[in-house]
């Protein structure tokens, strides 16, 4: 018997299953992003250092994370960590580790750019008023840096959410994989199921990412 694919979408728990898959992706992105913000802020402050060794090491870390496709990093952590360090991570945890490593690097660069984009005289003036370096950072530099940082951080979150489908390749059942699992057993009853299910997955991603990117653009415009 042949049915239209759209019925497949609403049959039984299928739609809820897709949403659950989306939540798996989102949980990875959210957790990794929160960790990246904390670690990346630290890294970004370190990166403004004038020490050559520090500069070189942080730069090397950033470039490595940037240049390697995320899927390669996922493979390295998922397969090699077990082999050489006997650390057994499941796909979900491996994904969180990789996205945190990558996010920290990207976040560090954003923080560094935000801090260095603040004119030097702000720093000198605050020092001339008798504030300690720590006070200057907290009361003068950081509040301004955060304003410049927020839109770019939201954009990074968006990019991270859009990179999460990769985790399907190391066996995490996220939204695309769930879609595949719904389609495969129904191949004959619902021949055009894949059109509808994958279309819905795209729509779900759009529904999550579009508002986020709007907010980022709005903030960018307001604070520029």
């Amino acid at each position: 018997m042949r049915h239209s694919g759209i019925e497949l979408l609403f049959q039984g728990q299928n739609f809820l299953r897709l949403l659950h898959g989306l939540w798996v992706s989102a949980s990875i992105a959210l957790l990794a992003m929160s960790l990246s913000i904390v670690l990346g802020t630290g890294l970004g402050i370190v990166m403004t250092s004038k020490n050559r060794v520090v500069k070189f090491v942080t730069r090397a870390y950033l470039e490595t994370m940037r240049i390697m496709p995320q899927i390669v990093l996922l493979f390295l952590v998922f397969f090699d960590l077990t082999r050489y360090f006997n650390v057994n991570l499941d796909g979900w945890s491996a994904a969180v580790v990789v996205f945190t490593l990558w996010g920290t690097a990207e976040m560090g660069d954003l923080v560094r750019a935000a801090i260095t984009s603040i004119p030097k005289h702000q720093y000198s003036s605050a020092r001339a008023l008798g504030m300690t370096p720590w006070q200057v950072q907290r009361a003068v530099i950081l509040p301004q840096a955060i304003r410049r940082l927020l839109p770019t951080t939201i954009n990074l979150t968006n990019r991270m959410i859009m990179t999460t489908p990769l985790v399907a390749l190391i066996g995490v059942v996220e939204v695309l994989k769930t879609g595949q699992q719904i389609i495969d057993p129904n191949r004959f009853a619902y021949p055009d199921g894949s059109l509808w299910i994958y279309g819905t997955v795209l729509l779900l991603y759009f529904a999550v990412c579009f508002p986020i990117s709007r907010v980022a653009r709005l903030l960018e415009r307001r604070w520029s």
Partner: protein
């Protein structure tokens, strides 16, 4: 690390590297063409086309490439549109990259102050001349970091095409891990091949940026 295994599988990886480079190259060229087209339409403020470009850019920027590829490769044949895997990958990459290129070009054009245009006009240059000699050189220099970042981003994004059964680097590595359990060797080759592709591009991008900046702004 077993060097014999590496030697034996190297040809497969070289072939996969070539495939990755081929898909990336066509995708990048396609993305640039789409990007230039979209940026021109937005700039010229063409009434309906402009809204269409906006819709395209938002859809392309807010959905993952993997989802787009699944839809193209597994979904569209149900509507009678059948495209083979490699073309699918290039189309997907072009669709994704086009919006990123368009945004980079648009922000480059926007960053050139309107007074530049007005001054050139008052000196008697025609619209095309102003574009060619005044606006475009500056806009290109401003947009170049974003454009090269997009090129690297697109090359990296090709790593997902294995999902539509294209034998790219990730596909080959995954197959070797699955069938021979030579995980270390496969991953070593995977990382090396990507470095061989991306390192020259990344270094070249930095060099090009500095050259262009120097030529345009003299610093």
């Amino acid at each position: 690390m077993n060097w014999a295994v590496i030697q034996a599988t190297l040809p497969t990886f070289i072939e996969a590297t070539l495939l990755t480079v081929r898909v990336a190259a066509f995708g990048i060229v396609g993305a640039l063409i789409v990007g230039i087209l979209c940026a021109t339409i937005t700039r010229a403020k063409l009434p309906v086309a402009r809204q269409l470009v906006w819709v395209y850019v938002e859809i392309s920027r807010n959905t993952p490439l993997l989802g787009q590829l699944f839809f193209l490769y597994y979904g569209l044949p149900k509507l009678g549109i059948v495209v083979d895997a490699e073309h699918c990958a290039v189309i997907g990459l072009t669709f994704l990259g086009g919006s990123f290129m368009a945004e980079a070009l648009r922000s480059g054009l926007d960053a050139v102050e309107p007074i530049q245009w007005q001054s050139a006009q008052s000196l008697g240059l025609s619209g095309v001349q102003t574009m060619r000699h005044v606006i475009l050189p500056q806009a290109t220099a401003i947009a170049m970091p974003a454009l090269t970042a997009n090129v690297i981003f697109l090359i990296k994004e090709t790593s997902v095409v294995s999902i539509i059964a294209l034998a790219d680097l990730v596909f080959v590595a995954k197959e070797q891990i699955g069938s021979d359990y030579t995980t270390a060797e496969a991953l070593f080759l995977l990382v090396s091949c990507y470095l061989v592709i991306l390192l020259p591009v990344s270094l070249g991008a930095g060099w090009l940026e500095r050259r262009l900046r120097h030529a345009t702004f003299g610093d």
